[in-house]
Symmetry: C2
Subunit: 322 residues, 2 copies
């Protein structure tokens, strides 16, 4: 098989494989929104990413840690979605990471009510041998030290490294976070966090600063206002689906980046054009996630429902020039 670069932004390294290595938490969440309460439901960014990725032809493996309270039915759910759990460590006698939060009326802000790190304090990520050559690595929102440890265990430089992060790590682990940002190809970050880390008010300037730190591609998530994708001087604006009711925004960002990355794995092409479509697909998947509590809606996505939703996204922004 002969692979030739087509245009300057397409880059094929050796032959890409379908492997997507995902680092992230597996958790139980207690969530309160204006529309209801959920006491103890499946959560964690690796869970959302894995389920989002399961919509695409990928070999997806998780690196995570759980306690003995993690229910078999939840492991079965992930396995049934072809998610490889070899890299998930179970710590005997310990409890799974637990997070509890309450969303306010506007659903754009939330208050953390409780965080029990539990097993997370003892997390030493181990990349399974079979995933050390993954072409795609997605580092979900976690301690940047752990994110770096995963990168250091790879046998070869992955073709695409995607990372997500949040305000907590910016405030407390800035230096390590910057070390990580240097090493990734795509950073996904929300608007306020992009402003916080770069000290720039304009998102265009913030994206330029982030690109200057290393990543060729910057995704700025704006919640109900959609997402922006930056690459050199190119910008793409993806809308969020305008919804009458957002039941639970938990996991929207994780579903987004999971869908985005897994789409690229399936395409085996890393171009701005493909990433634009990836951003739309990630947005479409996230639009399902927020419509029910936890992973419920995400679990039910079918090829047909996703295809239909993507068409809705197209019609949201299409206009005619005369």
């Amino acid at each position: 098989m002969k692979l030739k670069p087509k245009g300057k932004r397409v880059f094929y390294f050796c032959i890409m494989n379908n492997k997507l290595l995902v680092l992230g938490t597996m958790a139980y969440d207690a969530i309160e929104t204006p529309f209801g309460k959920a006491k103890k439901i499946l959560g964690g960014c690796a869970t959302y990413i894995g389920l989002a990725a399961s919509n695409f032809k990928t070999e997806c493996g998780l690196i995570s840690i759980i306690g003995t309270d993690f229910e078999k039915r939840h492991l079965d759910l992930l396995k049934a979605n072809n998610i490889n759990l070899e890299g998930v460590e179970k710590l005997e006698g310990e409890k799974t990471f637990f997070w509890s939060g309450k969303y306010h009326n506007d659903l754009n802000t939330r208050t953390t009510l409780d965080t029990q790190l539990n097993v997370l304090t003892k997390f030493k990520p181990k990349v399974p041998e079979s995933f050390k050559d993954s072409s795609f690595v997605l580092l979900g929102n976690l301690d940047p030290n752990i994110q770096l440890e995963v990168l250091d265990q790879m046998n070869k430089k992955p073709d695409l490294i995607v990372m997500d992060t949040m305000n907590f790590w910016i405030e407390s682990y800035k230096e390590k976070l910057e070390e990580l940002i240097c090493r990734v190809d795509v950073i996904s970050i929300n608007d306020e966090e992009a402003r916080q880390i770069t000290q720039k008010n304009s998102l265009v300037e913030a994206a330029k600063s982030l690109q200057a730190m290393g990543p060729k591609y910057v995704i700025i998530k704006k919640g109900e206002h959609g997402a922006l994708l930056f690459n050199d001087n190119d910008i793409f604006c993806a809308p969020a689906l305008p919804l009458e009711k957002v039941f639970d925004p938990t996991g929207a960002g994780d579903s987004f980046i999971g869908g985005f990355t897994a789409y690229l794995v399936q395409r085996k092409k890393i171009t701005f054009e493909e990433m634009k479509t990836g951003v739309i697909i990630g947005s479409a998947i996230a639009s399902f996630t927020v419509q029910e509590f936890g992973t419920k809606a995400l679990e039910k996505i079918t090829f047909a429902s996703l295809e239909q939703r993507i068409k809705v996204f197209k019609s949201l922004t299409e206009f005619k020039l005369n």
Copy 2:
């Protein structure tokens, strides 16, 4: 000439004319932004709307009021842009409306430093005979009593009535404002104000509530996040141009709605499809406005620069489905 409705959303009344009647303020502004200061520059929503509309084939007439301090060169500027000033009253010995404001670092919030109503307190709008049959009426942001007075002076029901408003009128003149909203076809309002008037957090729900009050079309402006257009169950999302620097957001909303409406006048078609393009054109014009102080950039728009900018908007949201 025989005019037949094409599809249910196209409605031709008698033969539409090119007349666009605009109600609004003509003012002097003092503006401070993080990028500089302007002591006394031309402002007012009618001014911005008129200049934005001058990019299209319309017969645009303003209804406004000025004092003796209003400079001849500013009247000449408007006349040079083919704006009819028959409906602009000059009150001898009185001063023009003056507004002074300071934008904060994020440029999304501002503090009013000074408001001198001056001539505005004596404003009795008079629609010139030649504009009483205008097919298009655009009621810029003003006291809803004055907006209603203009509608009452029309000889025939205009084919399209567009209105803009702001928080001040929602807080102090809610009843009159609701009376006006019942009578218009398109309402343009920003996101916070849409939430305020309808008491709905979801913008989709807010738009439905506004539509239930009367307007078939609702435009929700979201500043740097673009705008949403609603009609029945159809939604269109327009991005805002991501800019490195916004020099002065004053008049962005007025330029937007002026460009939007004047485009429809030129097309003489009132359909959701045309409105989508109109929203993009309005957004493109507003993207010029914010790049310099006051009306400076707006005055310099050419057909070529506008065409180029609209193409940029198209490329911002276009993506491929495989």
